[in-house]
């Protein structure tokens, strides 16, 4: 870090750091870029400051006060960061919502958080805001930034971001000192974010994070894996996920790297390739998707390309394994790896947008060893991290050259980790949150003497690495007492490109079964090649040949497993799991308890002597509409090969 860098202390707030960085870089450096109308458009730190300043003052002139909550929803875009920073500068507390949240969730969070402002992006979010207004009396203003479709909206409480910024400009003319005074007033131990956890079990809880929580976490991560202000980062995961906040705000602001926003969520992957970020953090699902993409492209390519890929991956896997085992890599393997690099890895990394990647992290859920090895075999420095919203993001991470894919690494400097007698993981450090908003009971359970009780179980191995078991309730026992780890099995199944999702069942039951969701595009392509006609996901999923294809994938995963842990029966679901149906959390974790209830007919029949399940249920669309579904699903048994 340079001398000009400000020191992170308990007194420093995020807005103070923001102001410092804006003054330091001015219009000499690009703070963020957004691809819009086909062109990357830069915003310098000066632009960033001006936009935040006037938006902040505009909200102040509409009556925003210190400590008020500002709810925000929308895709990743500069206006989103401006709004968040503007709220913080005014001393208010931003509350982020996932952009695909249903009305009920939006209503719950806005109401529970006592938000008085709601910042949406387009007509869709504005509609959600207007829809909940009668139930959320504290909500006063809705601010939007994309005029598309807004021509018929003229309610007084609706303001465009431009109008609010105009109000801010007027206020600034009257009181030119006001903005900086507002920033000066803050203290590092003030609450800066109210963050609703996605919650695999109950209603979302609002975690209160301070400026110091966020900044100290960022500082500690950057000590471990340094980034530089010449780096690029692509922000495309939901802002309502702490991982994105950590990279865009906690780390981004103190390092000063450029944050890039894709044109649309759908163009994300393409835009990542254009930027070539230096650092990346995503949930396992993204890496699983990339792996699938590579596997499919491989199946599609010519014979010679497939051969080169096969040889190069073999070399890559061998070298990666040597590195994992911390063994010396002999010169001939180094030469071979160079060959693998120039023939395959280099091009592959370019296509995935990983050419310049120094570090990439995965966290939020378990990731299977297959996926993990796959990226290391490509020469990508993928690391596990462990953490939670309550510790402002992360607390444990893999170090360069010390990567064990069954662990999540070692604690960040400044963070202590210990394991209780029951095996629960506790952490302590400057980033531990202040408690849950309006929920003392949960706070008392989670925070004791400065220790954060995570609810996860695990242990610390001989090298000081933390091993996290699946969430304690997800380590399951068959009814004969034999343990099995469903998440591990699921991640193995998901390594097949034909499988989008899998749900492994067997808790207190005689054997293990699985509900599979096929990947519509990949399995559909396979069906095309095999001349199988289909019209829809439900139809394709029930085709006997697709069943056999999925059975092959399961048998492959079964091979390395001991007899009791093998999957015996499975059923292909008529749809993919979806957060709108509450089957997944917004961060794409399976909600097992809910699923067990929703699909109890399936479970029941998987353990009966039958080969068909009748289902009669409703599915929910993103706009909240529901549709009843009646269908029959076939159960297929996997015969033991012994």
């Amino acid at each position: 870090m340079t001398e000009e860098n400000i020191k992170i202390t308990e007194d420093l707030t995020i807005p103070q750091l923001f102001l410092h960085q804006c003054k330091r870089y001015g219009d000499k450096k690009v703070a963020m870029r957004e691809k819009e109308f086909g062109i990357w458009r830069p915003f310098t730190w000066k632009d960033y400051l001006e936009n935040v300043k006037y938006l902040s003052l505009g909200m102040v002139s509409l009556g925003l006060k210190r400590g008020d909550k500002v709810a925000m929803i929308g895709d990743n875009r500069p206006e989103g960061v401006w709004a968040e920073m503007a709220a913080m500068c005014a001393g208010a507390i931003p509350v982020w919502l996932f952009q695909d949240c249903m009305m009920e969730e939006v209503k719950y969070i806005i109401d529970h958080s006592d938000s008085s402002f709601f910042v949406g992006e387009t007509q869709e979010e504005v509609d959600k805001g207007i829809g909940i207004m009668p139930d959320c009396p504290k909500l006063e203003y809705i601010i939007w930034d994309d005029p598309k479709g807004m021509r018929r909206y003229n309610q007084d409480f609706l303001k465009s971001i431009k109008v609010v910024q105009e109000l801010g400009r007027e206020l600034d003319k009257k009181e030119p000192e006001l903005f900086e005074n507002l920033i000066k007033e803050g203290n590092g131990n003030d609450i800066c974010l109210l963050f609703y956890t996605s919650g695999t079990t109950a209603l979302p809880k609002g975690a209160l994070l301070t400026h110091y929580n966020m900044l100290s976490m960022g500082e500690d991560l950057m000590k471990t894996d340094p980034c530089y202000d010449t780096d690029d980062f692509v922000s495309y995961l939901p802002f309502a996920w702490i991982g994105e906040q950590m990279m865009s705000i906690s780390c981004g602001l103190q390092i000063g790297y450029t944050i890039n926003f894709p044109e649309e969520p759908e163009t994300g992957q393409h835009n990542i390739r254009e930027i070539g970020p230096h650092v990346m953090f995503a949930a396992p699902r993204l890496y699983e998707g990339l792996t699938r993409q590579v596997q499919v492209k491989y199946l599609d390519s010519t014979w010679i390309k497939r051969k080169i890929y096969e040889i190069a991956t073999k070399i890559g896997y061998h070298v990666a394994d040597l590195r994992f085992e911390k063994k010396h890599i002999p010169w001939y393997w180094k030469v071979s790896n160079w060959f693998a690099y120039i023939t395959m890895q280099k091009k592959m990394k370019d296509h995935l947008g990983m050419s310049r990647l120094r570090y990439c992290y995965t966290g939020g859920a378990a990731m299977g060893p297959d996926h993990f090895r796959f990226f290391h075999a490509l020469g990508v420095n993928l690391k596990q991290i462990y953490g939670q919203t309550e510790i402002a993001g992360i607390s444990v991470v893999h170090r360069d050259g010390d990567i064990k894919f069954d662990t999540v690494g070692t604690p960040l400097p400044g963070t202590e980790i210990k394991i209780t007698e029951d095996g629960e993981i506790l952490s302590r450090g400057p980033s531990v949150f202040k408690g849950y908003y309006k929920n003392d009971e949960a706070t008392e359970k989670t925070l004791k003497d400065g220790w954060l009780y995570s609810g996860d179980t695990g242990f610390i191995d001989d090298d000081g690495h933390l091993v996290v078991f699946d969430r304690s309730k997800d380590v399951m026992l068959l009814n004969d007492g034999k343990p099995f780890a469903p998440q591990y099995l699921e991640s193995r199944l998901k390594f097949s490109p034909h499988v989008q999702d899998a749900w492994v069942i067997g808790d207190k039951l005689p054997y293990i079964t699985a509900v599979m969701c096929i990947d519509y595009s990949v399995a559909g392509k396979w069906a095309d090649e095999h001349k199988i006609n289909y019209t829809s996901y439900p139809e394709l999923s029930q085709d006997p040949r697709i069943y056999n294809l999925i059975q092959e994938q399961i048998e492959e995963a079964n091979e390395s497993l001991p007899e009791p842990a093998k999957i015996r029966k499975f059923v292909n679901l008529f749809k993919a799991f979806d957060a709108d149906d509450d089957e997944l959390t917004r961060t794409s974790k399976l909600r097992r308890g809910f699923m067990a209830e929703r699909y109890k007919d399936i479970i029941e029949n998987l353990y009966k002597d039958t080969d068909i399940v009748h289902l009669d249920m409703t599915i929910t669309y993103e706009d909240g509409r529901e549709q009843p579904i009646k269908t029959d699903l076939r159960i297929q048994e996997i015969e033991s090969k012994q």
Binding site: F37, G38, I39, K148, G149, R151, R152, E263, E264, E266, T267, H270
Partner: protein, 273 residues
């Protein structure tokens, strides 16, 4: 949109007078008259073979009626060829897609704005001066006004015929819009689309009709009654070459003759909701 000042909103923009069109002994249009006012969405409905597409083809110049006149902004345009009519602001999309399959989405759309490029062969061959300026302005218009409106950012570089049908329909609308038409003929834009795509398409039609920067008058041929009744200002009902009724949707949907001839046949023309 440049010469829009000539006709004000609510004035008659396009007029068909007593159009007679026969193919051999088949009377496709039997003295049909229609007035389309500037700024409205005027739908044409009718059973298969009623002559809807023939009417579109007459307006756009693919067919020349044997009798009757067509006026655009008060001027008779009977003699104009389709490309001339395109130049004066009449755009259209087709029932069956007519995209350039091998070209990218962007190139397809750019083709639509070709009539607006005026620079000469010399500057064109070296891509300098006027050509460069024009091309850049044209690209900006396409990106800001069309690709953004139709939400097709992620497919702009893809080859048109590789796209799913619903997206191809969108691209065709994009190409028609690149012409900057004052009136657009939409021939069954919803046909073959799923519910979600139909809703998107209806939204796009409303956008181009209502947004200040577009304000395009729309003539819509469509079978989806739900959409027609929801978004049209006026509905023109055609049956075997004859006009049945022309009026606001409420009036049309309660007309006994229409119910009998058209809306009653639920099986054939059921709406999607």
């Amino acid at each position: 949109m440049d010469n829009s000042s000539e006709v004000r909103e609510g004035d008659v923009l396009l007029k068909l007078e007593n159009i007679l069109m026969a193919f051999g002994k088949v009377q496709a249009l039997n003295g049909v008259s229609l007035e389309v006012k500037k700024g409205e969405i005027h739908s044409i409905i009718g059973p298969n073979g009623a002559g809807k597409t023939v009417m579109m083809n007459c307006i756009n110049g693919l067919y020349h009626p044997q009798q009757g006149d067509i006026y655009y902004k008060g001027k008779k345009i009977n003699h104009l060829s389709p490309h001339k009519r395109a130049e004066i602001g009449i755009g259209r999309t087709f029932q069956k897609l007519e995209l350039y399959g091998g070209m990218s989405v962007l190139d397809n759309i750019r083709m639509g704005s070709h009539v607006h490029l005026k620079s000469g062969i010399v500057s064109g061959s070296i891509y300098a001066g006027k050509t460069k300026k024009e091309e850049l302005e044209d690209r900006r218009f396409i990106e800001e006004e069309i690709i953004d409106l139709l939400e097709i950012e992620e497919i702009r570089d893809q080859v048109a015929h590789m796209l799913p049908y619903g997206l191809q329909k969108r691209v065709e609308l994009g190409r028609a819009l690149a012409l900057r038409p004052e009136v657009i003929l939409l021939d069954e834009p919803m046909a073959g689309l799923n519910l979600e795509e139909v809703e998107d398409m209806a939204r796009f039609i409303l956008d181009i009709n209502e947004e200040k920067r577009w304000k395009v008058t729309c003539i819509l041929v469509e079978h989806d009654m739900g959409v027609v009744m929801d978004i049209s200002h006026n509905v023109f009902v055609l049956d075997f070459g004859n006009m049945v009724i022309d009026g606001i949707p409420e009036k049309v949907s309660s007309d006994p003759q229409v119910i009998k001839a058209y809306l009653g046949e639920e099986d054939l023309y059921a709406t999607r909701r």
